[in-house]
Symmetry: C2
Subunit: 278 residues, 2 copies
């Protein structure tokens, strides 16, 4: 296999936690770990696009994934370089050929919230209609449990300091990437960016998130063509409706050996239990 194309990138991750002093209910002053948070302003060919508030674990992948999920860049081959500079809290993306109509697309952009990012919501919903996820892939209950166990055993910023969300891309029960960030959507975007950098195809993978399954989380998983979406948390009505529409196999409240399977049940293979004696 050819090595995938890689833009020239820095590797400028930030320290992830900091100790501050807090006083607890017993009046004790305790050193307490808190998660980092940094503004990172994204420039594309010197044009300011967005300021992301980030933990700073994978800033280059975050910038690339943001441009990917916002549909501002069509392919990783269009990116020449990604340079993070924490002196100026900036990430400069240089394209190989200028993005057509970037100025107009930025102007048209509507801000979407609910932990959202600047996107044209209607455009995303239209794209959703055209997405087809692979139907020849399966996830067994054993694999789901093994993945949940792998996530549980992982050392994380969340365990140490809280205040972040984690996302993982998994190949069966193997965690390919695990990225945490202040916002759920930054963590998803960073994984999307890393997938581009490494030439990883999502069509047979599992996406795990500690965060809630709102409309935007489901849209992003579908955009990456990932057929399995697993969350420790709950979901919203629109998250449910979109997952149902694209036929995504979606689990909520998945922790230890418990889960709720909401949509896309045809890709899930339940463990056959031995017959119980009455």
């Amino acid at each position: 296999m050819d090595k995938p194309y890689r833009p020239k990138i820095t590797r400028a991750s930030r320290p992830l936690t900091f100790d501050v002093e807090a006083v607890n209910e017993r009046g004790e002053a305790l050193p307490t770990a808190i998660a980092g948070e940094h503004p990172l302003t994204l420039y594309v060919d010197k044009r300011e696009v967005v300021t992301l508030m980030t933990l700073g674990q994978a800033p280059e992948a975050l910038a690339i994934g943001y441009l990917r999920n916002q549909r501002l860049v069509a392919s990783v081959e269009d990116i020449a370089a990604v340079q993070v500079d924490w002196e100026t809290d900036a990430v400069a993306v240089t394209t190989r050929k200028a993005i057509k109509g970037l100025k107009e697309r930025m102007k048209k952009r509507t801000v979407t919230t609910g932990c959202g990012q600047g996107t044209v919501f209607g455009d995303l919903m239209e794209e959703i209609d055209s997405i087809e996820l692979r139907d020849d892939v399966r996830l067994s209950e054993e694999t789901l449990y093994a993945l949940l166990d792998a996530v549980r055993r992982r050392e994380t910023v969340y365990k140490n300091a809280g205040a972040v969300h984690g996302c993982a891309l998994a190949d069966g029960a193997d965690i390919v990437y695990f990225i945490e960030d202040v916002g759920r959507h930054n963590a998803v975007d960073a994984i999307a960016g890393q997938m581009w950098l490494d030439g990883i195809d999502g069509s047979d993978k599992i996406f795990y998130t500690t965060g809630r399954l709102t409309s935007e989380m489901v849209i992003k998983a579908a955009q990456m063509r990932i057929p399995f979406l697993v969350s420790r948390s709950g979901l919203t009505q629109m998250g449910f409706e979109i997952a149902n529409k694209v036929g995504l196999t979606m689990f909520g409240r998945a922790v230890n050996q418990r889960y709720l399977l909401f949509t896309g049940k045809h890709r899930f293979v339940k463990r056959v239990m031995p017959t119980m004696m009455a």
Copy 2:
């Protein structure tokens, strides 16, 4: 006291939860409550400003609070009417006199993420420098515990369906408002809007949130001149730094009779414990 000015508003809240069927690990199909989520596009004098993804509990207050916290409207007296129409998923705000330079301010706007909303981050940080919170108000440990107990006993969408964040404005241990939404920032904005509608001053109040204390949460509390900020969750480094800078009294991990007091300790009155016999 004069009755505060009130714009003409609809009262168009949405059903908050919906039942869908999910299959659990025992293979049982269960009706499961999930939280509502709706796009709501905000128009100011017919100009499209933002699409908010919302639970829809208090859409009029959300629209007003969004405009307040984004500093697009300077006072509730500038707003003539707020009309929500769920047929078109739109909220139309009519001003009494046109907002000066709205078009330019929209153009200048940089999107901030990490569960952010479209704001000019630099401008917000500048504003923070000029904020002075009241220093003649105190919060006792008894009142804090009573408030945490009142929050715990409350019936919520979260308890029923998860996937939302709740925010409360409290006057001592009395909850004045409790609003839940899909995004933390929507819930804060809706409270800011309701405060304007009812002419409530924040300078002696307590702001409670189930969500994390990131930079934007702390900035919004400070913008509303609220001196006490209490969260069930953790905080980030920038949340800590900004709270420290403005001298906000900030508690994290506050649940039952436990808390961590991070900043603004001078406003907190700890219960004097009877001397224990060894």
